[in-house]
Symmetry: C2
Subunit: 243 residues, 2 copies
Protein backbone atom coordinates (compact mmCIF):
# COMPACT_ATOMS: atom_id res chain seq x y z
CA UNK A 1 0.00 0.00 0.00
CA UNK A 2 2.57 2.56 -1.07
CA UNK A 3 0.59 3.90 -3.96
CA UNK A 4 -0.49 7.47 -3.38
CA UNK A 5 -3.79 6.99 -5.19
CA UNK A 6 -4.80 3.98 -3.14
CA UNK A 7 -3.85 5.67 0.08
CA UNK A 8 -5.80 8.79 -0.72
CA UNK A 9 -8.88 6.92 -1.85
CA UNK A 10 -8.89 4.74 1.23
CA UNK A 11 -8.61 7.80 3.40
CA UNK A 12 -11.32 9.83 1.68
CA UNK A 13 -13.66 6.87 1.87
CA UNK A 14 -13.35 6.93 5.63
CA UNK A 15 -15.56 9.99 5.75
CA UNK A 16 -17.03 10.53 2.28
CA UNK A 17 -18.91 8.47 -0.24
CA UNK A 18 -16.96 8.44 -3.50
CA UNK A 19 -18.58 7.67 -6.81
CA UNK A 20 -16.61 5.51 -9.24
CA UNK A 21 -15.98 8.64 -11.28
CA UNK A 22 -14.43 10.30 -8.24
CA UNK A 23 -12.14 7.35 -7.74
CA UNK A 24 -11.19 7.45 -11.41
CA UNK A 25 -10.49 11.15 -11.11
CA UNK A 26 -8.20 10.60 -8.14
CA UNK A 27 -6.40 7.88 -10.07
CA UNK A 28 -5.73 10.31 -12.90
CA UNK A 29 -3.87 12.73 -10.63
CA UNK A 30 -0.16 13.10 -11.21
CA UNK A 31 2.06 12.77 -8.18
CA UNK A 32 5.62 12.24 -7.20
CA UNK A 33 6.80 10.80 -3.93
CA UNK A 34 9.83 11.49 -1.75
CA UNK A 35 11.20 9.94 1.37
CA UNK A 36 12.25 12.00 4.35
CA UNK A 37 14.49 11.45 7.31
CA UNK A 38 13.18 12.06 10.82
CA UNK A 39 13.07 15.77 11.52
CA UNK A 40 13.48 16.76 7.87
CA UNK A 41 11.26 19.61 6.74
CA UNK A 42 9.29 19.31 3.53
CA UNK A 43 7.21 22.46 3.73
CA UNK A 44 8.47 25.60 5.39
CA UNK A 45 6.55 28.35 7.10
CA UNK A 46 6.35 31.16 4.53
CA UNK A 47 6.42 28.92 1.47
CA UNK A 48 3.99 29.60 -1.37
CA UNK A 49 2.58 26.12 -1.86
CA UNK A 50 2.10 24.73 -5.35
CA UNK A 51 1.74 21.12 -4.38
CA UNK A 52 -0.47 19.35 -1.91
CA UNK A 53 1.33 16.85 0.28
CA UNK A 54 -0.15 13.44 0.96
CA UNK A 55 1.34 11.26 3.65
CA UNK A 56 1.92 7.86 2.12
CA UNK A 57 3.61 6.24 5.08
CA UNK A 58 5.22 7.25 8.33
CA UNK A 59 4.28 10.20 10.48
CA UNK A 60 4.65 13.92 9.88
CA UNK A 61 4.09 16.93 12.08
CA UNK A 62 2.78 20.40 11.54
CA UNK A 63 4.34 23.20 13.53
CA UNK A 64 4.65 26.90 14.15
CA UNK A 65 7.97 28.57 14.66
CA UNK A 66 7.90 31.18 17.41
CA UNK A 67 9.60 34.52 17.06
CA UNK A 68 11.30 33.61 20.32
CA UNK A 69 12.93 30.63 18.67
CA UNK A 70 10.86 27.78 20.00
CA UNK A 71 8.52 25.55 18.04
CA UNK A 72 4.95 24.48 18.68
CA UNK A 73 3.59 21.32 17.12
CA UNK A 74 0.02 21.71 15.98
CA UNK A 75 -0.94 18.24 14.80
CA UNK A 76 0.44 14.95 13.58
CA UNK A 77 -0.47 13.16 10.43
CA UNK A 78 -0.24 9.66 9.09
CA UNK A 79 -0.89 7.60 5.99
CA UNK A 80 -3.76 9.05 3.99
CA UNK A 81 -3.74 12.52 5.52
CA UNK A 82 -3.38 15.62 3.38
CA UNK A 83 -1.66 17.76 5.96
CA UNK A 84 -1.54 20.81 3.79
CA UNK A 85 -4.83 20.71 2.04
CA UNK A 86 -5.00 23.70 4.36
CA UNK A 87 -2.72 25.43 1.89
CA UNK A 88 -4.92 24.83 -1.16
CA UNK A 89 -6.56 28.22 -1.08
CA UNK A 90 -4.07 30.15 0.95
CA UNK A 91 -1.18 32.08 -0.48
CA UNK A 92 1.52 31.53 2.04
CA UNK A 93 1.99 28.70 4.50
CA UNK A 94 1.62 29.91 8.06
CA UNK A 95 3.15 26.71 9.38
CA UNK A 96 5.76 24.16 8.46
CA UNK A 97 5.65 20.41 7.99
CA UNK A 98 8.35 17.94 8.88
CA UNK A 99 8.80 14.21 9.06
CA UNK A 100 8.59 12.83 12.58
CA UNK A 101 9.85 9.34 11.94
CA UNK A 102 11.03 8.34 8.46
CA UNK A 103 8.17 9.22 6.16
CA UNK A 104 7.15 8.96 2.55
CA UNK A 105 5.22 11.90 1.13
CA UNK A 106 3.55 12.29 -2.24
CA UNK A 107 3.13 15.68 -3.87
CA UNK A 108 0.21 16.51 -6.13
CA UNK A 109 0.21 19.79 -8.06
CA UNK A 110 -2.48 22.19 -6.92
CA UNK A 111 -3.36 22.82 -10.55
CA UNK A 112 -4.18 19.16 -11.08
CA UNK A 113 -6.34 19.07 -8.00
CA UNK A 114 -8.23 22.18 -8.98
CA UNK A 115 -8.91 20.79 -12.43
CA UNK A 116 -10.18 17.60 -10.84
CA UNK A 117 -12.58 19.65 -8.69
CA UNK A 118 -14.01 21.24 -11.80
CA UNK A 119 -14.70 17.86 -13.32
CA UNK A 120 -15.91 16.26 -10.09
CA UNK A 121 -17.22 18.79 -7.59
CA UNK A 122 -18.08 15.93 -5.24
CA UNK A 123 -14.37 15.18 -5.00
CA UNK A 124 -13.80 18.77 -3.96
CA UNK A 125 -16.37 18.36 -1.25
CA UNK A 126 -14.64 15.24 0.04
CA UNK A 127 -11.38 17.11 0.35
CA UNK A 128 -13.12 20.11 1.84
CA UNK A 129 -14.53 17.75 4.44
CA UNK A 130 -11.02 16.50 5.07
CA UNK A 131 -9.91 20.06 5.87
CA UNK A 132 -12.88 20.47 8.19
CA UNK A 133 -11.92 17.34 10.08
CA UNK A 134 -8.47 18.81 10.42
CA UNK A 135 -9.98 21.95 11.86
CA UNK A 136 -11.92 19.89 14.39
CA UNK A 137 -8.65 18.36 15.49
CA UNK A 138 -7.15 21.82 15.89
CA UNK A 139 -10.08 22.89 18.01
CA UNK A 140 -9.65 19.92 20.28
CA UNK A 141 -5.97 20.75 20.62
CA UNK A 142 -6.85 24.22 21.83
CA UNK A 143 -9.03 22.73 24.51
CA UNK A 144 -6.56 20.02 25.34
CA UNK A 145 -3.63 22.34 25.85
CA UNK A 146 -5.63 25.07 27.56
CA UNK A 147 -8.09 23.37 29.83
CA UNK A 148 -6.76 19.97 30.78
CA UNK A 149 -4.19 19.14 33.44
CA UNK A 150 -0.92 17.67 32.25
CA UNK A 151 -1.74 14.02 32.74
CA UNK A 152 -5.05 14.25 30.92
CA UNK A 153 -3.44 16.32 28.21
CA UNK A 154 -0.89 13.69 27.40
CA UNK A 155 -3.34 10.82 27.68
CA UNK A 156 -5.70 12.66 25.36
CA UNK A 157 -3.04 13.05 22.69
CA UNK A 158 -2.27 9.35 22.76
CA UNK A 159 -5.96 8.52 22.63
CA UNK A 160 -6.40 10.69 19.59
CA UNK A 161 -3.44 9.26 17.74
CA UNK A 162 -4.49 5.72 18.48
CA UNK A 163 -8.09 6.33 17.53
CA UNK A 164 -7.19 7.99 14.25
CA UNK A 165 -4.69 5.30 13.37
CA UNK A 166 -7.19 2.60 14.15
CA UNK A 167 -9.78 4.04 11.80
CA UNK A 168 -7.21 3.75 9.03
CA UNK A 169 -6.02 0.36 10.17
CA UNK A 170 -2.51 1.60 10.90
CA UNK A 171 -2.20 0.05 14.34
CA UNK A 172 -0.81 -3.39 15.08
CA UNK A 173 -3.25 -4.72 17.63
CA UNK A 174 -2.89 -2.47 20.62
CA UNK A 175 0.40 -0.96 19.57
CA UNK A 176 1.13 1.91 17.24
CA UNK A 177 4.33 3.42 15.91
CA UNK A 178 4.57 7.00 17.19
CA UNK A 179 8.19 7.92 16.50
CA UNK A 180 8.07 11.12 18.50
CA UNK A 181 10.65 12.22 21.05
CA UNK A 182 9.97 13.55 24.53
CA UNK A 183 11.15 16.96 23.48
CA UNK A 184 8.63 16.95 20.65
CA UNK A 185 5.93 15.78 23.02
CA UNK A 186 6.74 18.81 25.11
CA UNK A 187 6.55 21.05 22.07
CA UNK A 188 3.15 19.58 21.34
CA UNK A 189 1.57 19.70 24.75
CA UNK A 190 3.17 22.90 25.97
CA UNK A 191 5.14 21.35 28.80
CA UNK A 192 8.77 21.39 29.84
CA UNK A 193 10.76 18.30 29.02
CA UNK A 194 11.13 17.34 32.66
CA UNK A 195 7.38 17.45 33.09
CA UNK A 196 6.88 15.38 29.96
CA UNK A 197 9.02 12.65 31.40
CA UNK A 198 7.39 12.66 34.81
CA UNK A 199 3.90 12.78 33.35
CA UNK A 200 4.73 9.91 31.05
CA UNK A 201 5.90 7.90 34.00
CA UNK A 202 2.63 8.54 35.76
CA UNK A 203 0.76 7.25 32.72
CA UNK A 204 2.94 4.17 32.57
CA UNK A 205 2.39 3.61 36.28
CA UNK A 206 -1.36 3.82 35.76
CA UNK A 207 -1.13 0.65 33.73
CA UNK A 208 -3.39 2.05 31.04
CA UNK A 209 -0.67 2.51 28.46
CA UNK A 210 3.01 2.46 27.72
CA UNK A 211 5.07 4.58 25.42
CA UNK A 212 8.75 4.04 24.80
CA UNK A 213 11.15 3.87 21.88
CA UNK A 214 8.60 5.44 19.59
CA UNK A 215 5.98 2.81 20.23
CA UNK A 216 2.65 3.40 21.92
CA UNK A 217 0.94 0.47 23.61
CA UNK A 218 -2.62 0.78 24.77
CA UNK A 219 -3.14 -1.60 27.66
CA UNK A 220 -6.52 -0.51 28.99
CA UNK A 221 -8.38 1.62 26.49
CA UNK A 222 -11.27 2.54 28.71
CA UNK A 223 -9.05 3.73 31.50
CA UNK A 224 -6.81 5.66 29.16
CA UNK A 225 -9.83 7.37 27.67
CA UNK A 226 -10.97 8.26 31.18
CA UNK A 227 -7.56 9.61 32.10
CA UNK A 228 -7.53 11.75 28.97
CA UNK A 229 -11.11 13.01 29.24
CA UNK A 230 -11.29 11.70 25.69
CA UNK A 231 -14.49 11.69 23.68
CA UNK A 232 -13.91 10.74 20.03
CA UNK A 233 -16.97 12.54 18.70
CA UNK A 234 -14.85 15.38 17.38
CA UNK A 235 -13.07 13.02 15.00
CA UNK A 236 -16.35 12.55 13.14
CA UNK A 237 -15.63 9.01 12.06
CA UNK A 238 -18.21 6.30 11.64
CA UNK A 239 -16.58 3.31 13.32
CA UNK A 240 -15.14 5.08 16.29
CA UNK A 241 -15.06 2.63 19.19
CA UNK A 242 -11.66 1.07 19.79
CA UNK A 243 -10.94 -2.22 21.63
Amino acid sequence: MDNAHEVLIRSLKEHSRLADEDVAEVCSLAWMARNYEPNEDFIRQGDVPEFAALVVSGMVGRYHLLQTGGRQFLSFHMSGDLPDAQGLFIERMDHGLCAIGPASVAFIPHKEILKAFERRPSLGIAIWRETLLDAAIFREAITNNSARPMRARMAHLFCELFCRARVSGLNHGNTLQVPISLVQLGETLGMAIATVNRTLQELRASGAMDFRDGELTVLKWRELQELGDFNPDYLHTRKQTPP
Copy 2:
Protein backbone atom coordinates in the same frame (compact mmCIF):
# COMPACT_ATOMS: atom_id res chain seq x y z
CA MET B 1 -25.49 47.47 7.16
CA ASP B 2 -27.78 44.93 8.75
CA ASN B 3 -28.52 43.04 5.59
CA ALA B 4 -27.13 39.53 5.70
CA HIS B 5 -26.32 39.51 2.00
CA GLU B 6 -24.31 42.72 2.11
CA VAL B 7 -22.44 41.61 5.18
CA LEU B 8 -21.52 38.26 3.68
CA ILE B 9 -20.44 39.73 0.37
CA ARG B 10 -18.29 42.36 2.05
CA SER B 11 -16.66 39.66 4.13
CA LEU B 12 -16.01 37.21 1.29
CA LYS B 13 -14.51 40.00 -0.78
CA GLU B 14 -11.93 40.53 1.91
CA HIS B 15 -10.18 37.36 0.82
CA SER B 16 -11.73 36.21 -2.45
CA ARG B 17 -12.49 37.74 -5.81
CA LEU B 18 -16.21 37.41 -6.47
CA ALA B 19 -17.67 37.58 -9.97
CA ASP B 20 -20.92 39.46 -10.41
CA GLU B 21 -22.65 36.11 -10.79
CA ASP B 22 -21.29 35.04 -7.40
CA VAL B 23 -22.64 38.18 -5.82
CA ALA B 24 -26.00 37.60 -7.49
CA GLU B 25 -25.99 34.05 -6.21
CA VAL B 26 -25.34 35.20 -2.65
CA CYS B 27 -28.16 37.71 -2.99
CA SER B 28 -30.53 34.94 -3.94
CA LEU B 29 -29.92 33.03 -0.72
CA ALA B 30 -32.80 32.83 1.72
CA TRP B 31 -32.03 33.77 5.29
CA MET B 32 -33.71 34.68 8.50
CA ALA B 33 -32.14 36.69 11.28
CA ARG B 34 -32.51 36.55 15.03
CA ASN B 35 -31.18 38.65 17.85
CA TYR B 36 -29.53 37.12 20.87
CA GLU B 37 -28.84 38.28 24.39
CA PRO B 38 -25.33 38.11 25.80
CA ASN B 39 -24.49 34.54 26.73
CA GLU B 40 -27.40 33.05 24.80
CA ASP B 41 -26.59 29.90 22.84
CA PHE B 42 -27.68 29.58 19.25
CA ILE B 43 -25.94 26.36 18.31
CA ARG B 44 -25.33 23.60 20.79
CA GLN B 45 -22.60 21.01 20.91
CA GLY B 46 -24.18 17.84 19.51
CA ASP B 47 -26.67 19.57 17.23
CA VAL B 48 -27.13 18.31 13.69
CA PRO B 49 -26.78 21.58 11.80
CA GLU B 50 -29.16 22.40 8.95
CA PHE B 51 -28.43 26.09 8.78
CA ALA B 52 -25.25 28.04 8.48
CA ALA B 53 -24.99 30.97 10.85
CA LEU B 54 -23.72 34.33 9.68
CA VAL B 55 -22.84 36.98 12.21
CA VAL B 56 -24.60 40.15 11.12
CA SER B 57 -23.64 42.32 14.06
CA GLY B 58 -22.20 41.92 17.54
CA MET B 59 -19.78 39.26 18.65
CA VAL B 60 -20.22 35.55 19.12
CA GLY B 61 -18.03 32.84 20.59
CA ARG B 62 -17.32 29.26 19.79
CA TYR B 63 -16.70 26.90 22.67
CA HIS B 64 -16.19 23.37 23.85
CA LEU B 65 -17.91 22.02 26.91
CA LEU B 66 -15.65 19.86 29.03
CA GLN B 67 -16.81 16.63 30.58
CA THR B 68 -15.58 18.13 33.82
CA GLY B 69 -18.11 20.94 33.53
CA GLY B 70 -15.93 23.82 32.41
CA ARG B 71 -15.97 25.55 29.07
CA GLN B 72 -13.19 26.46 26.67
CA PHE B 73 -13.66 29.23 24.17
CA LEU B 74 -12.10 28.44 20.82
CA SER B 75 -12.57 31.62 18.82
CA PHE B 76 -14.61 34.77 18.55
CA HIS B 77 -16.48 36.02 15.55
CA MET B 78 -17.84 39.29 14.32
CA SER B 79 -19.86 40.80 11.52
CA GLY B 80 -19.35 38.88 8.29
CA ASP B 81 -18.00 35.68 9.83
CA LEU B 82 -19.62 32.32 9.16
CA PRO B 83 -18.71 30.72 12.46
CA ASP B 84 -20.20 27.38 11.60
CA ALA B 85 -19.31 26.99 7.99
CA GLN B 86 -17.27 24.37 9.84
CA GLY B 87 -20.53 22.46 10.18
CA LEU B 88 -21.36 22.44 6.48
CA PHE B 89 -20.01 19.00 5.82
CA ILE B 90 -20.02 17.57 9.28
CA GLU B 91 -22.86 15.64 10.80
CA ARG B 92 -22.82 16.76 14.37
CA MET B 93 -21.48 19.95 15.87
CA ASP B 94 -18.51 19.26 18.10
CA HIS B 95 -18.76 22.73 19.62
CA GLY B 96 -21.35 25.28 20.58
CA LEU B 97 -21.86 28.89 19.61
CA CYS B 98 -23.17 31.66 21.82
CA ALA B 99 -23.59 35.40 21.71
CA ILE B 100 -20.91 37.27 23.62
CA GLY B 101 -22.47 40.70 23.65
CA PRO B 102 -25.89 41.26 22.09
CA ALA B 103 -25.66 39.85 18.60
CA SER B 104 -27.68 39.50 15.46
CA VAL B 105 -27.26 36.26 13.55
CA ALA B 106 -28.64 35.25 10.17
CA PHE B 107 -29.35 31.63 9.31
CA ILE B 108 -29.04 30.26 5.81
CA PRO B 109 -30.26 26.73 5.05
CA HIS B 110 -27.44 24.34 4.16
CA LYS B 111 -29.52 23.11 1.24
CA GLU B 112 -29.62 26.57 -0.28
CA ILE B 113 -25.90 26.99 0.11
CA LEU B 114 -25.15 23.65 -1.46
CA LYS B 115 -27.37 24.45 -4.41
CA ALA B 116 -25.57 27.75 -4.81
CA PHE B 117 -22.25 25.89 -4.90
CA GLU B 118 -23.49 23.75 -7.75
CA ARG B 119 -24.40 26.80 -9.75
CA ARG B 120 -21.30 28.79 -8.80
CA PRO B 121 -18.39 26.58 -7.76
CA SER B 122 -16.26 29.70 -7.31
CA LEU B 123 -18.59 30.72 -4.51
CA GLY B 124 -17.97 27.39 -2.86
CA ILE B 125 -14.27 28.02 -3.07
CA ALA B 126 -14.66 31.41 -1.42
CA ILE B 127 -16.47 29.84 1.50
CA TRP B 128 -14.00 26.98 1.60
CA ARG B 129 -11.29 29.60 1.89
CA GLU B 130 -13.23 31.16 4.74
CA THR B 131 -13.14 27.86 6.61
CA LEU B 132 -9.41 27.59 5.97
CA LEU B 133 -8.85 31.03 7.45
CA ASP B 134 -10.80 29.87 10.46
CA ALA B 135 -8.50 26.90 10.75
CA ALA B 136 -5.48 29.18 10.64
CA ILE B 137 -6.94 31.09 13.56
CA PHE B 138 -7.40 27.83 15.46
CA ARG B 139 -3.80 26.90 14.83
CA GLU B 140 -2.61 30.19 16.17
CA ALA B 141 -4.75 29.69 19.25
CA ILE B 142 -3.02 26.38 19.91
CA THR B 143 0.33 28.12 19.80
CA ASN B 144 -0.88 31.07 21.78
CA ASN B 145 -2.30 29.05 24.64
CA SER B 146 0.49 26.49 24.68
CA ALA B 147 3.69 28.35 24.06
CA ARG B 148 3.29 31.93 25.17
CA PRO B 149 3.49 33.32 28.68
CA MET B 150 0.35 34.81 30.11
CA ARG B 151 1.00 38.44 29.27
CA ALA B 152 1.88 37.71 25.65
CA ARG B 153 -1.07 35.37 25.41
CA MET B 154 -3.56 38.02 26.37
CA ALA B 155 -1.90 40.71 24.30
CA HIS B 156 -1.95 38.40 21.31
CA LEU B 157 -5.65 37.79 21.61
CA PHE B 158 -6.37 41.50 21.68
CA CYS B 159 -4.06 42.04 18.71
CA GLU B 160 -5.89 39.42 16.73
CA LEU B 161 -9.33 40.75 17.52
CA PHE B 162 -8.32 44.28 16.69
CA CYS B 163 -6.58 43.29 13.48
CA ARG B 164 -9.50 41.23 12.27
CA ALA B 165 -12.01 43.92 13.14
CA ARG B 166 -9.95 46.52 11.39
CA VAL B 167 -9.89 44.57 8.16
CA SER B 168 -13.68 44.61 8.22
CA GLY B 169 -13.82 48.22 9.33
CA LEU B 170 -15.54 47.35 12.60
CA ASN B 171 -13.26 49.42 14.84
CA HIS B 172 -13.87 53.03 15.81
CA GLY B 173 -10.43 54.54 15.45
CA ASN B 174 -8.30 52.79 18.02
CA THR B 175 -11.18 51.37 20.02
CA LEU B 176 -13.20 48.23 19.46
CA GLN B 177 -16.21 46.78 21.22
CA VAL B 178 -15.19 43.46 22.76
CA PRO B 179 -18.05 42.71 25.13
CA ILE B 180 -16.27 39.83 26.82
CA SER B 181 -16.05 39.30 30.57
CA LEU B 182 -12.93 38.49 32.54
CA VAL B 183 -14.29 35.03 33.25
CA GLN B 184 -14.69 34.44 29.52
CA LEU B 185 -11.20 35.77 28.90
CA GLY B 186 -9.99 33.15 31.33
CA GLU B 187 -11.98 30.47 29.54
CA THR B 188 -10.34 31.57 26.31
CA LEU B 189 -6.75 31.85 27.39
CA GLY B 190 -6.69 29.00 29.85
CA MET B 191 -6.03 31.10 32.91
CA ALA B 192 -7.68 31.46 36.28
CA ILE B 193 -9.81 34.54 36.75
CA ALA B 194 -7.43 36.03 39.28
CA THR B 195 -4.58 35.73 36.80
CA VAL B 196 -6.70 37.27 34.07
CA ASN B 197 -7.23 40.30 36.20
CA ARG B 198 -3.62 40.68 37.20
CA THR B 199 -2.36 40.13 33.67
CA LEU B 200 -4.82 42.66 32.35
CA GLN B 201 -3.53 45.17 34.85
CA GLU B 202 0.00 44.57 33.66
CA LEU B 203 -1.09 45.26 30.11
CA ARG B 204 -2.85 48.44 31.16
CA ALA B 205 0.23 49.50 33.08
CA SER B 206 2.36 48.95 29.98
CA GLY B 207 0.48 51.79 28.35
CA ALA B 208 0.08 49.85 25.12
CA MET B 209 -3.63 49.21 25.53
CA ASP B 210 -6.62 49.40 27.76
CA PHE B 211 -9.57 47.10 28.11
CA ARG B 212 -12.52 47.82 30.37
CA ASP B 213 -16.28 47.72 30.21
CA GLY B 214 -16.19 45.64 27.07
CA GLU B 215 -14.15 48.15 25.15
CA LEU B 216 -10.64 47.58 23.87
CA THR B 217 -8.44 50.60 23.26
CA VAL B 218 -5.19 50.22 21.41
CA LEU B 219 -2.84 52.97 22.55
CA LYS B 220 0.46 51.84 21.06
CA TRP B 221 -0.04 49.25 18.39
CA ARG B 222 3.60 48.46 17.81
CA GLU B 223 4.28 47.87 21.47
CA LEU B 224 1.18 45.78 21.90
CA GLN B 225 2.18 43.66 18.95
CA GLU B 226 5.60 43.23 20.51
CA LEU B 227 4.11 42.28 23.86
CA GLY B 228 1.90 39.70 22.18
CA ASP B 229 4.57 38.26 19.87
CA PHE B 230 1.96 39.01 17.23
CA ASN B 231 2.59 38.49 13.53
CA PRO B 232 -0.57 38.92 11.45
CA ASP B 233 0.59 36.73 8.58
CA TYR B 234 -1.61 33.87 9.73
CA LEU B 235 -4.72 35.97 9.15
CA HIS B 236 -3.95 35.93 5.42
CA THR B 237 -5.48 39.31 4.72
CA ARG B 238 -4.26 41.76 2.13
CA LYS B 239 -4.29 45.05 3.99
CA GLN B 240 -2.91 43.86 7.24
CA THR B 241 -0.94 46.68 8.84
CA PRO B 242 -2.85 48.59 11.52
CA PRO B 243 -2.12 52.16 12.69
